[in-house]
Symmetry: C5
Subunit: 345 residues, 5 copies
């Protein structure tokens, strides 16, 4: 069983990482409405704050209707001794909450898309390195060429896998140990290497790849096997690869600043708590429906922002990591030994 | 009949891909208003949710006027026992809906423009590769130069076509089979190649092009036909080309996250449903007109966002794919054999 | 008379292209207010939709005051049987209209600035190519160097002019024929070349320049006159130049998507029509003034967005094309034959 | 007295250019409030439109209270025959004004930051050129190396100074003549060069620098003193430098489009004039305070946008130009003759 | 004790720089609410303006209820002789305040993220330089190679440390002197070098590194030890490094323009002061709660923006500087003497 099959059939991978983004047809907006898998509705509906806020509102409505209304005016409006909170008090706070949340969500969405494309470009870089190795080292144009080619690609593939294995989301889960076993099993990492690498961060492991490949390539330059231009082209790609690995690791280690998240959270929960009380004076049982939709929307926006800004986890909005990396690994390793579909060159 | 004529006259292409963006004169805003082809109005007007919401509103208005109004106060305002929903309940939800939809639309518009320019730049890259091939390989400066030139350009053109052929929107339609037949008919793909390529994604097919061209170029470097600088220039362009193909494929396979779309959809439909009821209390038959315009605007914005974020499909907002690719193919293939208009060099 | 004088004195150029952006002093905001040349006020004030909307509103106000008001309440408010439209119905539509228009305007402004800078950078690239030609080919360091230098620069300058000549805005106007005559008159284009070029798009003409220059440079490389690094530097600049020409042409051929424009237009005119009626109930002749300002602002924003997103036309917001291109042409051609102001090198 | 002292002590420089951005401590928000130097408050407080609007409002309030109020209702609200303007009429215009101004301000802020960093990067490029000159030409590794080094750096420094000297803001002021005298005095420009350069724009002067340096470097390549890679590296930096000079000049010659500014101005002044009247009906002398704050905010935002979008002038928000350029000049000229602090290499 | 231990155990570093961003789990939004460390709540709650505004409001509420209310109408609404301020007066100012603050915050957030990634990329560049030094100079492939390698890396590491040491936030604190002692103690800077460097800015110190390394590398080129391609690759990385150091220093020396901050501050405090009075007329003791939340939100947003736009300080939102730089220093210095984990090359 090749590594791709092994990964795609692994129970551990199945349980501890996302199954990939949900696809949907925009042609069926109404039916989509009732598909809550991976949506903000699912994130929110059973959350503590959603339930507390809505139960609070319902209780307040009932109590107000029963004990709060002294009498009703000629226009049917209730008279009460309860201290009022009215919309007028929120003339600044409401747009502030809305803007802040939407901008926060926009930032999170940008993080999400940026990391998604970094992951794709990273796979591209590994492919570029593989193809350059093929062009210069395949069929042993100088002694030891094929061996160097395979040794260098191995370190590149290990760095690719380890980016994800060493993300904080993974290191504390069984998938982490599974991952190291897997790398050993398929000969990518030796036991004594694992002992050292397991204590390093993703970018540090990439640093080892960089050190190995550049020193090896430098030797080939000195022996006259390749020229400096080719050395520089490999170096450039390895730098870009290291930059991508740094970016994803840096994003994962540095969430949206706590002060930012906290203010968004405070404003959301603070205003919702006040609204749970203020809506009572609107004197209609239907505020229960409106308030429920409003809490779903606001808490959903907050939670979706959190989920989007960290796209390599286990949520339904997250991207797969092990499977595409294994596919990339298998494809590129295979490419070293075979001709292009378009014929041998 | 050359490939360009064949494509431009094909019934299949005509039926299964966009006819290109609609041009219009901004000088006639009022007349444009009644041209609904390719607009959000056309997308929305016959949709299920538009009809349901508006019929619901009309029924509610009529029922309210007939049975809901108990009496009218001195100021003419209706008195009713119906539970009210008022604008005050939407003080947070209305701006949230508006902002979220407009930001969503903005993201979709950016995706649209980005993919449009990637498609144009991709055509540019193919032209750059062709011109560099001409400069270094034309008129057989070394044995086999012209043949290598044509073989490499063929694989580049195949990768260009296959980007679009292998997009999810096309693979499930008759245009897909038509496309492979077309590639075989004009000698771009051999039958045995097709058998393999048809199972690969656009980026993977580009990977084969990369593997073929780089290995071939590497041989020419070893034979001293070209130098490493020229190898690197070709490699650079092929990498950029692979990056563009990856981007468009990645966008097509990864729509706006479902959670994002779902929240936009939920907020839109949820608030419209509530407004269909709330507008009843505004006590004017004209709410029917206003509500219709509002539903067109909101649902139209939602649906236009979906359409814009996926620009290589069959909608009226979409771009053509086969025709410009065929034009690019014919132009570049022709350029290999002829002098520039500005004279032979 | 040199080409620059010829262009700057041409009646045709004077009539059929913009006179360049209006300069103004921000120190005099109030005086600027009454300078309507090139403003949204001028675009809107005599337009059909502006007049219809305002006349409609004035008529409605007069009719309402005369026939619509049955009596006035104790608070002076009118009582009427007319079906009402109130601001409450616009609680979602008003911010939607505003946001959408401002985002649309923002996109248009970005297109405007981007194209402006592309035009400037394009002039820069032509200058860079000229200076590299001077450095490597001037004073005939090898046989035929000066001739190659002049022949290549000619094709670059032709591509620069043709970018603008072949824009849709120009091809249908007398300036187009004038332009080709001009290019022939000053020896930039031969009659037999014109016959072919006039049927090609701007990017395609640049493609011919690319084909000519690269093949010529490739020959000089093979003869050992220049090295591959110099070839690559020219190639790189020609690619960037081709990219700029593609961008401006692509923008000009692809306006803001019709669906986008249409929705903005529909929302604007739809809401203004409703407001023309709704304002009647505000019961004040001063709504006529407010409505006039509002229509100027909204229609002006819409029309300014259209004008900004297409900056190489004949509007007052547009940039000049022929004159700066001619200046660039004359400067660079002159530079081939003279020393730098800083002394001969 | 070296050039840096000369510039920093010059009366002319002191009077005709900004003293640099104001530094402040964010720890003292309340105290900062009363520091109006360089703020929108200072820009606005004595401006014609601010005074007219506020005097108008005060007169209207007094006249209304004296003659406009016929009687007061039971709720204390005034009854009047004056035609009313109410907030309801501004339901679309108010958010439009706010958004448009804030987006305008955002664009201006981006221009400001972009130009600031271009100025810094330009200094960086001059330093990079200096250091490369040192590495390849210092200590006369080939005959005439040191002389070429100094001659080329001179032209680069002249182009740096002339970027600012030839900006429209400077050419009409005494600092312009002072600048040319200064360049002659310190031997950067010869009298006969000045006669030609003074009629050229900043980018054109940079064009002369480019022509001189590339031709000189091309000769060194032909003599075998340096290789093409080094030529290309110099050329690349000179291109980037020319691009920066073009950008700042293009920004300075092309303010925000007049139509854009005019619409912002019209909306601001139009709505403020209407509000000066409308606030009267709010029937409170405190509208005078609120209206004053509102005019400061709106006019201040408009004027700050204008100031930010043109950062190389004489305002308090502007950046210094002569002083940092002189510092860059002195540092780099000195570096040609001395070892690094870290020892001789 | 190695430098990393020394730094991580230093009392001075502990007291005078940030402990790094706070990590948090988004799974516990309600519990996070009560964790105020490093949040806007903590910044604001004890600030002068927060306390003054809220005490003012409470006093006004009490005074109004006691002396301001003459009588109450049939609807329970208070009648008063106090001049009123109502929400209607803020119809423009409220959204202006909200937008301006949120855009300001967005700009600050972008500065924050940009500087964070520059710091990470800077560490990457140092690693890239180290690895290239290793590849070309390790194991003394030519005489003096190892010594050059170590001397050059020393100057690079010094420039890295000095970026932070010379930031305005640090130069006035004990950590500055501690830093220079530390650099001397670990042999990075000699006493006589310190005497010169301590008067220079971060970018100027980087300039010395640039001058040293390029002159040394230029010598190696002249001796034929390395080729120009390798020289250019080092030069390129040193330029990028210099650009990063310039950026962070320029940001630190140029806060958000004072006019911008002042207007944000004026609007915030001005409107809050007016609201402290206006809320009195809403006639509910609960305005005290709402007003408190509102002041926390608005002042918090203002102060968080200030904190985010200057991320290398001592706040809880700030990033560490000495510790990651020391880690980078130790890792790279160590790498010069050891093989990669993946084996010797």
């Amino acid at each position: 069983m090749g590594p791709l099959d092994y990964v795609s059939k692994s129970e551990i991978v199945h349980s501890y990482q996302s199954h990939g983004p949900i696809t949907y047809s925009v042609k069926r907006p109404v039916r989509n409405l009732f598909s809550v898998k991976g949506t903000a509705v699912k994130m929110v509906a059973l959350s503590f704050d959603f339930l507390v806020l809505n139960v609070l509102h319902i209780i307040l409505v009932i109590v107000f209707q029963k004990y709060g209304v002294n009498e009703r005016g000629a226009d049917g409006k209730p008279k009460t001794d309860w201290y009022k909170i009215t919309n007028e008090m929120f003339a600044v706070m409401s747009p502030l909450l809305v803007f802040f949340l939407v901008f926060y969500n926009n930032q999170a969405y940008n993080r999400y898309m940026e990391q998604f494309f970094i992951a794709r470009k990273l796979e591209g870089i590994v492919k570029y390195i593989t193809n350059r190795l093929r062009a210069h080292f395949r069929h042993d144009p100088f002694p030891g060429a094929e061996q160097s080619m395979r040794e260098m690609l191995r370190t590149v593939i290990v760095a690719h896998y380890c980016l994800y294995l060493r993300l904080p989301r993974y290191t504390k889960r069984p998938i982490h140990d599974w991952g190291w076993d897997y790398l050993c099993k398929y000969g990518l990492v030796k036991k004594e290497e694992q002992a050292v690498l397991v204590g390093k961060s993703g970018p540090d492991i990439m640093g080892e790849t960089l050190a190995f490949c550049l020193e090896r390539l430098g030797q080939h330059v000195r022996y006259g096997h390749i020229d400096t231009l080719t050395f520089n082209a490999f170096e450039q790609d390895l730098h870009v690869m290291a930059g991508f690995i740094m970016s994803i690791t840096a994003y994962a280690n540095n969430p949206v600043p706590f002060a930012y998240y906290h203010l968004a959270n405070l404003l959301t929960l603070g205003q919702l708590a006040l609204l749970a009380y203020a809506f009572v004076f609107l004197d209609s049982y239907l505020t229960i429906v409106v308030f429920a939709l409003l809490t779903i929307a606001l808490l959903g926006l907050r939670d979706m922002s959190c989920a989007l800004s960290d796209p390599f986890g286990v949520d339904d909005t997250d991207f797969q990591t092990m499977l595409p990396t294994a596919r990339c690994h298998v494809d590129n390793e295979g490419l070293l030994s075979r001709d292009s579909v378009f014929g041998n060159a």
